[in-house]
Amino acid sequence: MIPIVPMLDLSFQILFFFVITFDMGQQEGYMAMNLPATGEAKAKDQSQVDQSKLSDTELDIPSDFVVVARSYDANFTLTVRDAEKPTEIGALKDLDKMTPGEQQKAFDELFNKLADTLKAKVEEKKKDNPNAANNVKIEANSGMKYSHLVSVMDACVRSGYSQVGFAPPPDLGP
């Protein structure tokens, strides 16, 4: 006779293992991005790029505007800068006096505002030229928390800019 009890013990262990490792909330996703340029662009156009050369001579993909994010101590500001002038999206102050929940809410509001502004811009552009390039660059200072950077990137992609690139932090020495 086959003893069924140890088999059952084992089955419960397996079941338990799968139950505790099953975690929908931790699903990992990928975000596409453009690599930052490392050197000066030597070719005038993407078609003139010498494929055999190292990538630091490649042309950085131009973007029509830059999302400028600054985070110093307890302050956080977001600005959109295009060819003409910068437009402030919003600023958060005294973040250190807020509870984590309040902070989260303030950040969510700010990033939603950014997404709305960018959406308006992209619609305006698509009206003139349906095939307009949809790339945007993010310029953050070096102390910016990575999670905030990803949120800014998230807002850009949500509003229709699928090509996100990163500008070097302006406060980073050469």
């Binding site: 990992e28 991005m33 690599l35 990538s55 990803v150 990163f166 932090p169």
Partner: protein, 191 residues
């Protein structure tokens, strides 16, 4: 053989296979679980930032030509124990700590002092060596893309890392020659 009995009674000796079965199945499970984690290089030291489901796409097949870069909250590059460069760094990460000392058991005795330039240099050396490895593989390939490195670099950075830490790794990746890059984030659940 029974000592006292006159009649010969054949004794039925059956090996108990159940504990063996338990052990084998447990081992199979162990290897199943660990190989996935080693292959995907997920680590509890890296807590990914969250992004909405619109911008963070679920990961399906990434292929085999990939390289993971895990960055912790201090901006240190965590190395995979299977990586050939792992042996150079006794605690498995490139953290740019100068004069760090270990005891015989490999525990850190003194943390040393942080040197960002040194860390960047070490990361650059590490990436350069990795790129050369991929290039060597590419040379053995047949077809149009012979010798062309098409490795996808997957950056998994901790949510509390600074932009500077991430940016420097991105810049170095591009500098050594990697062209395809992808960031990883946790997909936000719908509220």
């Amino acid at each position: 053989m029974h000592a006292g009995g006159g009649a010969h009674i054949p004794e039925l000796v059956e090996p108990n296979l159940v504990p063996l079965l338990d052990l084998v199945l447990q081992m199979v499970m162990f290897f199943m679980a660990t190989t996935t984690f080693v292959k995907e290089e997920r680590t509890a030291l890296v807590k990914l930032p969250t992004a909405s489901a619109q911008s963070a796409k679920p990961v399906d097949a990434v292929g085999s030509d990939i390289m993971y870069l895990n960055i912790n909250d201090r901006g240190d590059l965590l190395l995979n124990p299977l990586d050939s460069g792992f042996g150079l760094y006794r605690d498995g990460k490139i953290d740019g700590m100068k004069n760090k000392t270990f005891d015989d058991a490999g525990r850190v005795v003194s943390q040393g002092t942080f040197d960002r330039a040194e860390r960047n240099r070490q990361i650059e050396v590490h990436l350069k060596r990795a790129f050369q490895d991929f290039q060597r593989d590419a040379e053995h390939r047949q077809g149009d893309d012979k010798g062309v490195v098409r490795t996808l670099v997957i950056l998994r950075a901790h949510q509390d890392a600074s932009y500077r830490d991430v940016y420097e790794v991105l810049r170095l990746c591009r500098q050594v020659g990697f062209k395809k890059m992808q960031l990883r984030a946790t997909i936000e659940q719908a509220k």
